[in-house]
Symmetry: C2
Subunit: 215 residues, 2 copies
Amino acid sequence: MDVRQFVRLGRKIVAVGRNYRAHAAELGNTVPEQPMVFLKPTSSYVTQGRPIVIPPRVTELHHEVELGVVIGKEGRDIPKSSALSHVAGYALALDMTARNLQNEAKKKGHPWSVAKGYDTFCPVSDFIDRDQLDWSSCTLWLKVDGQEKQRGSTSNMIFPIPDLLAFISSIFTLEPGDLILTGTPEGVGPVVPGQTITAGLDDFLEMTFPVVGPR
Amino acid sequence: MDVRQFVRLGRKIVAVGRNYRAHAAELGNTVPEQPMVFLKPTSSYVTQGRPIVIPPRVTELHHEVELGVVIGKEGRDIPKSSALSHVAGYALALDMTARNLQNEAKKKGHPWSVAKGYDTFCPVSDFIDRDQLDWSSCTLWLKVDGQEKQRGSTSNMIFPIPDLLAFISSIFTLEPGDLILTGTPEGVGPVVPGQTITAGLDDFLEMTFPVVGPR
Ligand SMILES: [Mg+2]
Ligand SMILES: [Mg+2]
Ligand SMILES: [Mg+2]
């Protein structure tokens, strides 16, 4: 499998919530003792050139900029010490979240899948080869209509990538082309139709997505 | 894509909770106004010949026998009236559930993905061609060590298959090889290592899975 084609060929997206202390705090959440894990469907992928669509029932769509890890080698119960050998590369990603539906789901004890899973809720960049990035300290940033909303360093993750891969692979077998979303730094907030999101990784990658209303 | 290979090639499993009145009641849940939807990863598939594995943190693993619908044609915002044209066939499936982790997740407002998604938590039968099954009134049954625990007719679904496909495709684009789990009738309950689950569809399909402890 050509993992650079993870958007077209990958079979799962595993996302981690509350992996930056300041973001957990801004939503009034405590810092978890172990990673909080949820799934997004691969049908939620969208790549540059197409818009992020706000669905009808979604009154509050939030941006969450995250570093994505693309798996290159199958594994389960992966030890932390060899976890990085399962990484083929990275991608910049947005974990778009219907915050109104997520808040309702949390209150009722319902699943998060709808709030996290609509079509176009996972905008992603092209594949970045593992050699091109220092995963342990790169900077993620996000602007809405040119105004900076999020900026954070992956060095502030509560559970760094090897810990995440060890934990997640104790639950789900990781397969080539899977994407792991590693959590968002503080500054999440709403977007509305007509706005444009620009997000980047250090200086070397930038991506842009217009936001539109229901089709 | 050869949809008979949905286990190997499919990209998502969308499951529906509380779609039979008597099952909603047995877990103390109200009947939902719209389908309750969650995701299981395709890495949770297991086919006959391999066991269902109870993971270390799972103190209460429940069986839920369900009719699976295999999608044959891509679609989003599918109208009820043409929904069945998107169905390639069916499969018998077990929506294995870590009830202890699910109860904890519900209480805390956390996602269900781990409780529903461990490896081997989606045992499935071979593909059943759509012409071989009357989806609107077939009988699902499940035995543990030969003793019947679940028996129900798909005619008792709260949201029948066309309604489910219309609702789900308003959230997620459905793609060939996707599997929809349509909910379980009453009688869910725990299994322990050493037991054997047999499940069937009417008289014409039967499948067997041994249950084992942590590897
Ligand atoms: Mg969930
Ligand atoms: Mg996130
Ligand atoms: Mg179920």
